[in-house]
Amino acid sequence: MTARSAIHPGELLISLGLIALGSFVIYDTQSIPDPQSAGGVGPRLFPYLIGIGLTLCGAVLGWHAISGGWRNVPLDQEGHDRPDWLAFGIISTGIVLHMIVIGWAGFIIASTLLFVLVARGFGSRRSVRDAIIAVLLAIVVYFVFTYGLGLKLPAGPFGVA
């Protein structure tokens, strides 16, 4: 384990993100119409408090990030120095494709695509086997959920429902 350097860019970015989100909450609260409910508080007070809370947390974490790193981070961060961004990308592609496709291609095709891509992201080289398992699983899930539990799922071109 190498010594932690003074400034941690990832931690700093997250802290700045929190500050940005908090500031946005405070800013956007001003556009909430306040019908001045009698005696009580309107719909703006809590958003203001939460926005301030977020910003403060972001500020404290930001300060920690540039003064030696966040406090009490566990040391057993195995693998953190060797991230596998290709895997991250493949799985993300799978989820986004599934989202685009499910509406018109149906649940079974979309889920098969997702399954094969996630397995691939985890290093599986046997895409044909994965696809067969995926189709079988998706068909079973489709029928159990639509006929057994009354959930509406898109059938797609082979629609039987």
Partner: protein, 495 residues
């Protein structure tokens, strides 16, 4: 006597054939899914929420109770055989339990975990039965000010007491509170933070958040950082049954573990981490075989497992009597109640006694099912551990997307699922706790409602929270919890 007859009528509900079946389904499903590494009770229940929306609430809640227990037991099985604790509460079990498995004593380790869970779960359910009516009586005196103060205490303990860092816990809580703001304001009907997107008017569903954080976030994290190493599964060798010596060494730790677990579950200090560690430390001190600790001592499995289960039951006390979730799982069970328009709390004991007492009675039944189902079937559960990792996570994501899409068949929920998944990935990577997000988003809107009611009653006078004795006491405890430890450190430094 009143409690007794209420409980008996509860058994009449729980022991009907359909509800027994739901309990059975719940325990089986919970164990099967809980055994899978990386899937805990919170995720299991969240995944099943959309699928149960059309069922009768009593049956579905009984199933969820079964899932809760089953998933906890499944999690211990994984910890013992795989040494990858699914949740922080089973870290301790993983330490001694995995060492026992390495020495070929996986069977007795699993048996003491299962029987200990049964003993602890049953005692804790008895305590719940006795305590719930008392707390309900007390809570009926609560006004909006008291409710708000108790919720603030819960927010504080969930985010600032547990975990490594107050700042990260609170950041997570405020993020959850922000998610809870989205949608129509319950009092005035004004749209807040919907960014002009019609899908956001109903708010963000807790299913999307829970599944995004636990399933998508975890999958991305494992794939990106941990996929290079392979897990080593310990073999089940020898007898599963405990010897006489094992029994003699287990029964006291079970009882002591229960005594640690239940109180910690009931106070809003959520989570089973503290009691499991306390139990472990106690057993280590009291054991006659100190040389075995660190090499696989059965006491080190029996005590913490009992503590874990007793605390899980304990968290149901504030959840059912006050509507107060103190763990991620409890937050999702609260969302399950809300799915049927039910709000847990003292009033539910009056309006829906059948449902509440049926649920409590089903917990006795669930514990028995767990015991008779799991010990003989442990061999089957262990087989689930052998599913190759690519297929396991691919399958988890199919169910995750199904859960989010099934809510209202909208691609928008899938987009949200991915965004929240990336947030979960970052939280996992940078060691930010996840439970405060879920507690914040489910409890936040309720807290705001109580706050505004209290101020409407006091006509805008903020001192109402300090003038009511119960409310003032609770707020004082909150301040102590939040500022006590740093002040104490400061005082000691100056001495």
């Amino acid at each position: 006597m009143d409690t007794f007859s209420a409980l008996m009528s509860g058994f009449a509900v729980a022991l009907t054939l359909t509800n027994l079946m739901w309990g059975f389904v719940g325990v089986t499903l919970g164990t099967a899914v809980g055994v899978l590494p990386g899937v805990g009770p919170a995720l299991t229940i969240a995944l099943l929420l959309p699928a149960t929306a059309k069922l009768d609430p009593t049956g579905a809640l009984i199933m969820f109770a079964g899932i809760y227990y089953g998933a906890m037991f499944g999690g211990s099985t994984t910890s013992i055989l795989l040494n990858t604790p699914g949740e922080s509460a089973t870290i301790v079990t993983a330490m001694e339990g995995n060492l026992m498995a390495k020495r070929g004593r996986a069977g007795p380790a699993l048996a003491t975990a299962a029987i200990g869970s049964f003993v602890a779960g049953t005692i804790a359910t008895i305590l719940l039965t006795v305590m719930a009516p008392v707390v309900v009586d007390f809570a009926l005196k609560f006004g909006p000010a008291e409710y708000f103060s108790v919720m603030v205490l819960a927010f504080t303990t969930v985010s600032a007491v547990l975990g490594a860092s107050k700042a990260r816990g609170l950041a997570s809580l405020f993020f959850g509170l922000t998610i809870g703001l989205i949608g129509l304001d319950s009092q005035t009907g004004q749209a807040r933070f919907t960014l002009g997107i019609p899908e956001l008017l109903d708010g963000i569903d807790v299913v999307v958040v829970a599944v995004g954080l636990f399933a998508v976030g975890e999958t991305l994290y494992i794939a990106t950082y941990l996929n290079r190493q392979s897990d080593k599964i310990e073999q089940m060798k020898g007898s599963i049954w405990m010897s006489k010596a094992d029994w003699r060494r287990s029964w006291k730790p079970w009882l002591r573990g229960t005594a640690f677990g239940f109180p910690f579950g009931t106070i809003p200090a959520g989570g089973a981490e503290i009691p499991t560690f306390l139990s472990y430390a106690t057993e280590k001190k009291l054991t006659k075989y100190p040389e075995e600790f660190g090499k696989g001592a059965i006491e080190g499995v029996a005590g913490p497992e009992a503590a874990n289960n007793a605390s899980a039951t304990g968290t149901l006390v504030p959840l059912l009597t006050l509507g107060l979730p103190t763990t991620a799982t409890a937050a999702i069970i609260l969302a399950a109640f809300q799915q049927w328009g039910l709000q847990p709390g003292p009033l539910l004991f009056e309006t829906q006694p059948q449902l509440i007492w049926g649920l409590i009675a089903s917990m006795y039944v669930g514990n028995v099912i767990l015991l008779i189902l799991n010990l003989p079937l442990v061999g089957i559960w262990v087989k689930l551990l052998h599913i190759p990792r690519p297929l396991l996570y691919a399958g988890i994501l199919i169910f995750a997307t199904l859960g989010a899409y099934g809510l209202r068949n909208s691609w928008f929920d899938l987009a949200l699922l991915y965004v929240i998944g990336v947030v979960g990935f970052l939280m996992r990577r940078y060691d930010i706790p996840v439970a405060p997000v879920l507690v914040g988003m489910t409890l936040g809107p309720l807290a705001e409602q109580q706050f505004r009611r209290a101020l409407a009653i006091s006509q805008g006078d903020l001192t109402i929270f300090l003038r009511q004795p119960i409310s003032a006491t609770v707020l004082a405890i909150t301040a102590l919890v939040l500022f006590g430890p740093p002040l104490w450190r400061l005082v000691r430094r100056f001495r």
